[in-house]
């Protein structure tokens, strides 16, 4: 046999094998899903739109998880007990921010890359994918497409805003960069705050013009963006840009990019306040058309006192589902966990219940923040014995709708404004709630008993107690129902991201900054009136040791700021407001305090305990970008101080 023949044999074999080879290893069926399929139909595109909403960082948490948004538990309003704060010795992120645990190595609750929270750049990429592909579905009508595009633009603006509020200058994601682009293309730089703000506002203006005033089908669509939502966000964005943190902040004089451009403007610009003021007014006008009004309870079912009525107005403004004051609520997050965490056990009946956890504990600072019954700060009220606020007194009959008559309680709990009693639960305090799932009867209201050994002191297994002795009553709906055994059944409400009182107060703030103090007081008084307080000018004139305070820009600014902190307490506003006002270092370096929950009697219980000493440095005004992200992209400038 010749070599030629051997080669022929081999060649034949190779050919035979080769033929079948490529078919044999081709195992993948044709119809495997690819991203283009997401825009095949209206229905699939709608899923993509829902995906965009789905990136909203968790505000209240739930399902065993704490919120990705730091605003509720990383500030000085709420203090969680040790077991919740550090389950199994592993501290959760939120409260670590308070005590100076923020760091560049593994940042806490950030939103940029690998920084302990969601990476909102993913959301922005998906927004752009949506906007680029939304022409594709064959059965999406134009009018609907127009709204969806506007919603996507709104969300794109919101995610940019969320990042800007946290990080200041950020790289704008106007268009997506292809995955295959070279390193130079993907290594983006940060854009100055003013440019970021301008882009967000431009996006929002496009969204405002195309969004409806109200959703067409509340059953299916409540929770989606509307014209009011976009306009209110625009007001908020512009106010943020006008505020001291980003407007003429000289702390950032050396905060520049590689080319030397200032990333935060250090020159104060009064026009920014004017733009913010106009946007607030626009938002209020649109809200008006959409039917938004400050919440008040409609005719009470039982014979309520005026105190009770006011308290229910205040509590309902947040906890009444989809009330007229709400501009944008988080329909996706179930607030039942939050409500359970805000509520103590109220009586012996609920001994075996598991649904009152009470660990969402307001700090003593919050208790001190509320006005006196005269509507002025307690330290300014000439009728209020400020220096004796920790001395024990006895609640009189005049307080019977607030505190159990004859209850021995510190002066701090007496003679306060209705919002104090509506927002906080405390030892001896009245807590109106319907225990039977029926009407709210004032005379059947509960009294909180929170001393050691009493129902509200320890709410069952695990870590269910208030560390400070206060309870966030405002967050718990009055018609929640705690059965004798088992969990709390709650009235679910969408947690407010934006509500009308917020916008009114922003408008008042911008009016004051643009030197229109009288008009500012008009909008301030609308909120005060609902809270059962007299107007600013009268209150200060009659009761304050500083009666002319509202007549100066600085004085009124302080008043508006405190009003905001009171009205919007526990809603996650103070956290960001203190930053944009550049006042966080003033508040966030003071002790976190509360009552001694191990006290069995009045004397022991009303001792003040310090739980932690917060730490806030200038660098904390902006979040650190994780070091990993800085290393990956040398074009990024780290925030000052980190």
């Amino acid at each position: 046999m010749k070599v030629k023949n051997i080669i022929k044999i081999y060649a034949t074999v190779i050919l035979l094998v080769m033929q079948s080879c490529s078919d044999f290893v081709d195992v993948v069926p044709d119809n495997i899903a690819v991203i283009e399929d997401a825009f095949a139909t209206r229905l699939s595109s709608q899923r993509f739109l829902a995906t965009l909403y789905g990136y909203l960082p968790g505000k209240v948490g739930g399902g065993g998880r704490f919120p990705a948004d730091p605003s509720l538990i990383s500030g000085d309003e709420i203090w969680l007990n040790e077991g919740i704060r550090a389950p199994l010795g592993n501290p959760i992120a939120g409260p670590r921010i308070i005590t100076g645990g923020q760091n560049v190595l593994s940042p806490l609750l950030g939103a940029w890359g690998n920084s302990g929270g969601p990476n909102l750049f993913i959301a922005l990429r998906d927004c752009n994918i949506f906007l680029d592909n939304i022409d594709k579905p064959f059965n999406l009508p134009d009018y609907e497409k127009q709204v969806w595009v506007a919603e996507a633009k709104f969300l794109k603006a919101y995610y940019h805003f969320y990042l800007m509020r946290m990080y200041g200058p950020i790289p704008l994601v106007k268009k997506n960069i292809e995955v295959s682009s070279g390193l130079n293309a993907v290594r983006v730089s940060r854009d100055p705050v003013d440019e970021v703000g301008a882009y967000i506002v431009a996006l929002l203006e496009e969204a405002i013009s195309d969004l409806p005033y109200v959703v067409q089908n509340p059953e299916l669509e409540l929770g989606r963006a509307t014209k009011v939502v976009a306009a209110a966000l625009k007001a908020k964005v512009l106010t943020t840009l006008a505020s001291p943190l980003f407007n003429g902040n000289t702390d950032y004089s050396s905060f520049k990019d590689a080319e030397g451009n200032a990333l935060v403007s250090t020159d104060f610009s009064p026009e920014k306040w004017e733009a913010a003021r106009d946007a607030c007014l626009e938002a209020i006008e649109i809200a008006n058309i959409a039917g938004n009004v400050l919440y008040t309870t409609i005719a009470p079912l039982s014979d309520w006192s005026i105190e009770t009525k006011t308290k229910m107005d205040i509590r309902g403004s947040i906890s009444e589902p989809w009330n007229k004051e709400l501009i944008w609520g988080r329909s996706d997050e179930n607030t039942s966990g939050l409500q359970a965490a805000s509520r103590p056990k109220l009586d012996i009946r609920s001994r075996l219940s598991t649904g009152a956890n009470a660990y969402w504990a307001p700090t003593m600072r919050v208790a001190e923040m509320f006005y006196s019954k005269n509507g002025v700060p307690i330290e300014e009220d000439k009728d209020y014995a400020y220096s004796e606020r920790f001395s024990i007194k006895v609640a009189g009959a005049d307080h019977k709708n607030y505190i159990e008559e004859g209850f021995a309680t510190p002066g701090l709990h007496l003679d306060r404004e209705p919002r104090f009693y509506a927002s906080l639960g405390f030892d001896g305090g009245v807590w109106l709630e319907d225990q039977n799932g029926g009407a709210l009867v004032e005379s059947a209201a509960h009294i909180v008993h929170a001393k050691l050994g009493e129902y509200a002191a320890n709410n069952g297994p695990g870590f269910s107690w208030s560390e400070t002795g206060y309870f966030a009553k405002k967050l718990s709906h009055p018609k929640n129902f705690l059965p004798a055994q088992g969990g709390l059944s709650t009235i679910r409400y969408p947690f407010p991201v934006l509500r009308l009182a917020d916008i009114y107060l922003l408008y008042a703030e911008t009016l004051n900054e643009t030197d229109n103090r009288s008009e500012a007081q008009v909008w301030l008084n609308k909120v005060r009136t609902r809270a059962g307080l007299s107007d600013v000018a009268t209150a200060w004139a009659d009761y304050s040791i500083n009666p002319t305070k509202p007549s100066t820009k600085e004085g009124l600014r302080e008043i508006i700021q405190q009003e905001r902190m009171i009205e919007l307490v526990f809603e996650g506003k103070r956290f960001w407001d203190l930053r944009r006002w550049k006042r966080a270092s003033e508040f966030m370096n003071k002790d976190i305090r509360g009552w001694n929950r191990f006290g069995e009697d009045t004397e022991e219980y009303y001792k003040i305990i310090t739980f932690a000493t917060p730490k806030f440095l200038t660098k904390n005004y902006l979040w650190p970008i994780s070091e990993q992200d800085i290393i990956r992209n040398p074009n990024l400038i780290q925030n000052p101080g980190w």
């Binding site: 074999v13 690819v34 890359g113």
Partner: protein
């Protein structure tokens, strides 16, 4: 016994004329290989001159000069007839006419075959012309063959040199063969030195063979075939299966140190979960799949299947290491290959071999824990030193100190509570080997039973201890269908029947060290009130720790603590795993086409299936209620909550079901021309399909397929110069079309210097009996590129169009959930296999007549195209998942060598020794990472580091006090003076930026895969005794202690499914959807070493073994750093064996036995290492089920 070659020729003869033979198989091969034939001129003329030779030799001479094959039946044709012939350019047919003119033989020419036929009717007449001598010189030679230790050797092949005639010894070692005076009989046997004896006057020739580990004539199993060991140009390590016999039911635990080039270590001793990690020449990639390709009888199987192999069943075990030997596997060979073949039958009466072993095993080492009182004292110290109130009150401590009531003041030795002192293992192995002329068989069965060392509560009516029973059945049947066609059927089945604790043995062992000795007893002693309760009174408490003293009201309604004893006793897993394999192989001799040509076909199907049932009940827990402070026997025992449920419930566990089909067809050519030129060729086509029957997603459910052709061509000249070319051309389903197929060539050369005439003449040859140089170079691929099998189809995007984890909930009543879209992978069509460019240089030297044999290989590898997650894609790009591409490159290098010694001093005393050493190192050469030197942190770069080196911080020492911590660079996380302070670890700020950040990380210590693996041992025998010992060690390896796992008093127990759910109130753990049973808070035990040596306020030792104690985990101290770096080097006496052959030769004969050996084996007897806390081979997994020290008694019987 018949002359073999004639039997074979008869077979082909029959095939031609009897189509009832199994032609189908033959035709199948023909169609596959397209036998090519054309008519051969009848006019072929040859010249021939032979004197006094047999007709057979004439035939052979004709065959040599032409392409004719002459076929005949040796019963019919008198092939021994002696003739003399002389032709010049004569036609072949004329020669044949003349040779058979006076006989009853006629012939027929069929193509190139000449078939001789018997025509009985023609009378025999005297021959003409040629001178005829009808004298037969041949005589029958008889004798026996034995081993130098006196045992008989069945299956020794005896061949008459220069012919292909031969025979084998029977089961008694006897043989008989017809041979001429002056013929040379060549006796050869695998593992023995061959012996050649010239036939003289005597008709009895008894032969003694000696062991030969060099095995010059040995055949080595290589990819898709075998090669003469002499002609190997690559690097192959082989090991005698007998060396793999250790008293363990896991073969992988025997590999370490015994095979040059294999790096191996074991990190658990738990039966059923004790597979060793092993790598061929270390690792050369930074991805997860670095293990070698495992081929058993040519079929790719898993590590588990290798672990289950019985050394008794193994015929050969080779490890292929270099490019020439691995390139033939193309894109699958880059990580080296382990090739195992199992035994086949031999003709003869059945040889039965029985091995029975019974082992006693106990942990080779035990973690030492501090006594309960020290535990309490130091836990109070831990609380106090971190600014908390002490955990235990004075009265509690005093209660324990005075040995109070165990229910009230428990002191639990959890180890003792959970574990027995020792356990037993039984192994039986029985095999039968034999066969007739046409059918040979090897049938083996084995059974082993491994018990764990866990305790079973007498109240339980089920066994929760580990009980692993393994059954194995193997049948290898070789059938000669025809003299040129052999069929081999292999059937193999293993069943593992496992019963054990719910969480596995490692977890139980872990828990013993992770539970407080003083919190609660494992089980309460019954008091009068609960004397009659039917359930076990498991200990627990409703009182958590963080508030224990301060807040007596802070009680849970459920058990808070993790009670490992309850966890162990509350249920068990029953798991059954079965592998079954059926294999058909056909071997066809195609000498009829051309001498030396053979073909082979192999089909294989194997299935693996496994299922488990987890049965458990929820225990009743109790706690001590009120206690009379004056009298601790006066107390109440309360049931916690509403109790449990003692009826068993079921959780179906994991199920595995997969199936592999494999096919292989090969043609082989092997021929020597003119004695000097040997040429071999091999071409093989393979196809494999893997199907997962229990896939969790669509992409995993798609079959995994490989297909390819490979080839090997070699040439050697005078057995002195060798050259070899190999290639593999194959593809797999996991890459994009244009990247699917790869071509992997290699080339190798060898020079057997000792066969050179100049060398043979030189004086050196008296000392150096063999000297060989080898070199090879080539490309090999690795298509297992991801970190696991699930990393496939990188060229496809993976999109979930309806993802309920995404999306948003809208609507007034929160009723409109719209699911979202997510991307799990971005398509990258460019992803392809890893490519290894390898070179190997080898040297073989045998000294003193092969008594000392030395071989060493140096290797170099450049692995490119390593799949890497792109790290420099900024997160601002907004990708949902990371991108992976083939960018990484690793350079690997090292050497491995072995030294063997064999000598028989006299008939009574022999000795052998073996040592191996492997050095394997590697370094990143290309790794996508930020330019660290640009940002002032060059030490952070991976380039130049070993891929398995740990990365961590440099720990300077412990902080002296809080003030120092506050004034030092800010550490990773936390506030100085609060979250960390005096007595916590101080890290070095490498870049001097005033804070410890990721940029201060650097490579620390030696790699976790050891650079050095070695082993050495000696065996010796004196008369009927034999003794062997083997040491094994690792060097240049480090590991990091995981402080979180052993940090005293902290809780590190997590739910078995890792699914801890923090519900609003407290912590509720859910296990597989069942109601919470056990609590899940633990308190780590206190290692005695930590109790003895830690930083404390009184003893501020900044270099203490342990930092300042804490009841909670201290994040600052738990990061990887040099503080936890330990030397993993060790040397252990792995095995010591003493054997005794009970009977002498005569008694054996009388009893009909061929072998009766009793032996005593000990493993893991001594350990030498710097690290003392636990066995350093376990690395950081020190709390795993310990490695066992085994004492084993066994006997082997052969008859």
């Amino acid at each position: 016994m018949k002359n073999l070659i004639h039997i074979k020729r008869y077979a082909l003869y029959s095939l031609k004329f009897d189509l009832k033979m199994k032609l189908t198989i033959y035709l199948l091969l023909i169609s596959f290989f397209q036998i090519y034939a054309n008519s051969y001129s009848q006019n072929t003329k040859i010249s021939l001159e032979l004197k006094s030779v047999s007709i057979e030799k004439v035939f052979r001479a004709i065959e040599a000069q032409t392409e004719f094959k002459i076929l005949y039946n040796d019963k019919e044709v008198d092939y021994k007839r002696i003739v003399s012939v002389k032709f010049k350019k004569e036609n072949v047919s004329k020669i044949l006419d003349k040779l058979f003119s006076k006989t009853s033989i006629s012939y027929e020419v069929l193509g190139k075959q000449i078939v001789l036929k018997f025509k009985p009717k023609i009378p025999i007449e005297a021959s003409i012309d040629t001178k005829e001598e009808l004298f037969d010189f041949q005589q029958r030679i008889k004798g026996s063959v034995s081993f130098s230790d006196g045992s008989v050797l069945p299956g020794v092949s005896i061949i008459i040199d220069g012919t292909t005639r031969g025979t084998e010894t029977d089961f008694d070692g006897n043989y008989s063969i017809k041979a001429d005076k002056g013929d040379v009989l060549k006796f050869s046997y695998v593992g023995m030195k061959s012996k050649s004896i010239t036939v003289g006057d005597s008709t009895t020739i008894n032969v003694v063979l000696e062991a030969d580990s060099a095995g010059l004539d040995e055949v080595v199993i290589v990819g898709f075939g075998s090669q003469k060991k002499e002609s190997i140009v690559g690097a192959i390590s082989t090991i005698k299966p007998s060396e793999l016999k250790i008293p363990s039911s896991n073969l992988t635990s025997a590999l370490a140190g015994r095979i040059a080039g294999v790096v191996s270590y074991q990190t658990s001793g738990e039966p059923g979960a004790d597979n060793a990690e092993f790598f061929v020449r270390g690792v050369a990639s930074f991805n997860g799949q670095n293990g070698p390709l495992i081929l058993i009888d040519g079929v790719e199987l898993t590590v588990d299947d290798l672990a289950r192999l019985q050394p008794d069943d193994i015929e050969s075990f080779s490890v292929l290491k270099d490019p020439t030997t691995t390139a033939i596997y193309g894109a699958r060979g880059a990580n080296g290959i382990i090739l195992v073949t199992t035994k086949v039958g031999v003709s003869g009466a059945p040889i039965v071999s029985l091995r029975v072993e019974n082992s006693f095993s106990a942990p080779a080492s035990r973690i030492k824990l501090a006594d309960p009182l020290t535990y309490m004292r130091l836990q109070n110290e831990a609380a106090r030193t971190r600014g908390n109130f002490p955990t235990y009150t004075e009265s509690q401590v005093a209660g324990v100190a005075r040995g109070g009531n165990q229910n009230v003041y428990p002191t639990v030795d959890w180890y003792d509570r959970l574990f027995k002192d020792f356990t037993t293992t039984k192994r039986f192995n029985l095999n039968v080997r034999g066969g007739g002329e046409k059918v040979r068989y090897y049938v083996a069965g084995s059974f082993s039973k491994d018990d764990g060392i866990l305790k079973v509560d007498p109240l339980n009516d089920f066994n929760n201890n580990i009980d692993l029973k393994k059954y194995l059945l193997r049948a290898n049947i070789n059938i000669d269908l025809h003299k040129n066609t052999e069929m081999i059927v292999r059937l193999h089945s293993t069943i593992d029947n496992y019963q054990g604790p719910l969480q596995g043995g490692n977890a139980v062992y872990n828990a013993a060290v992770r539970t407080s000795p003083v919190r609660f007893p494992a089980v309460f002693q019954r008091t009068v009130e609960n004397m009659n309760e039917p359930n076990v009174l498991f200990g627990n408490s409703t009182q958590g720790r963080s508030t224990s003293v301060f807040s007596p009201t802070s009680r849970s309604e459920n058990p808070v603590w993790f009670n490992p004893y309850a966890e162990l006793q509350r249920g068990y897993i029953e798991r059954r795993k079965a592998l079954s394999l059926i294999q058909l192989e056909l071997k066809q001799n195609l000498e009829s086409i051309t001498p030396g040509l053979t073909a082979r076909f192999l089909g294989n199907a194997n299935t693996t299936s496994s299922f488990e049932n987890r049965r458990s009940y929820s225990p009743f827990y109790y706690e001590v209620g009120a206690v009379n402070p004056a009298d601790d026997s006066d107390y109440r025992l309360n049931l916690i909550g509403e109790g449990g449920d003692t009826t068993l419930g079921l959780d179906p566990g994991n199920r595995i079901n997969n199936s592999v089909l494999y096919m292989e067809a090969a043609v082989n050519y092997n021929r020597t021309f003119n004695d000097d030129h040997t040429v071999t060729g091999l071409l093989v086509g393979t196809a494999r399909e893997f199907l997962d029957g229990n896939a969790s997603n669509l992409q995993l459910s798609l079959p995994g397929r490989n297909i390819g052709i490979s080839g090997r061509f070699s040439y050697d000249y005078k057995n002195t110069y060798f050259a070899e070319v190999n290639f593999g051309f194959n593809g797999s389903e996991r890459f994009a079309k244009n990247n699917r197929f790869g071509f992997f060539p290699s080339i190798g050369f060898g020079w057997l210097v000792s066969n050179e005439s100049f060398f043979e003449k030189s004086k050196l040859s008296s000392v150096i009996s063999r000297l060989k140089l080898r070199a090879s170079y080539g490309l090999v691929g690795n298509d297992r590129i991801g970190n696991s099998r699930t990393d496939r189809f990188f060229y496809l995007s993976e999109v979930s169009l309806i993802n309920n984890g995404r999306g948003y909930l809208f609507g007034e009543n929160f009723g409109e959930f719209i699911p979202g879209v997510s991307i799990n992978r971005y398509a990258n069509p460019l992803v392809t296999w890893e490519l290894a460019e390898k070179a190997n240089f080898g040297l073989d030297v045998n000294l003193f007549d092969d008594a000392l044999q030395f071989r060493v290989d140096a290797f170099f590898e450049n692995r490119t195209n390593i799949l890497q997650t792109r790290v420099d894609i900024p997160s601002t790009l907004g990708l949902q998942t990371s991108l992976q591409t083939n960018v990484g490159e690793v350079k690997a290098y090292g050497f491995d060598g072995s030294l063997d010694y064999n000598h028989s001093f006299n008939d009574n005393f022999w000795m052998s020794g073996r040592a191996t050493l492997t050095y394997a190192d590697n370094e990143y050469t290309v790794f996508e990472e930020p330019d660290y030197s640009k940002i002032g942190a060059p030490w952070r770069s991976n380039i130049g580091r070993n891929v398995r080196q740990n990365v961590g911080f440099i720990a300077e020492r412990l902080f002296v006090d809080d003030a120092e911590a506050i004034n030092s660079p800010a550490q990773l996380t936390g506030t100085p003076g609060e979250d960390y302070g005096g007595g916590d670890i101080k890290y070095k700020d490498l870049n001097g930026d005033g804070q410890i950040t990721e940029l201060d990380l650097t490579g620390i210590g030696n790699p976790s895969v050891p650079k050095i693996t070695y082993g050495f041992g000696v065996s010796m025998g004196y008369k009927r005794f034999d003794l062997s010992m083997f040491f094994q060690g690792l060097g240049q390896t480090s590991f990091l202690i995981r402080p979180g796992e052993i940090s005293p008093f902290t809780n590190t127990i997590t739910a078995s499914d890792g699914n801890d759910v923090i519900e609003g109130l407290g912590i509720i753990f859910q296990q597989n959807g069942r109601p919470p049973g056990n609590g899940f808070i633990g308190e780590n035990g206190l290692l005695q070493a930590i109790a003895d040596n830690h930083w404390s306020e009184e003893n501020r030792d900044v270099y203490a073994l342990w930092p300042r104690l804490s009841e909670n985990r201290v994040a600052n101290n738990e990061v990887n750093s040099t503080y936890w770096l330990r030397d993993g080097a060790f040397l252990r006496l792995k095995q010591l064996e003493l054997g005794f052959n009970v009977f002498g030769e005569k008694e054996k004969e009388r009893l009909g036995l061929t072998r009766f050996r009793v032996y005593l084996t000990g493993t893991n007897l001594f350990l030498f290492s710097k690290f003392k806390l636990w066995d350093p081979e376990f690395q950081h997994k020190g709390l795993n089920y310990p490695l066992q020290r085994v004492v084993n008694l066994g006997f082997q019987i052969g008859f």
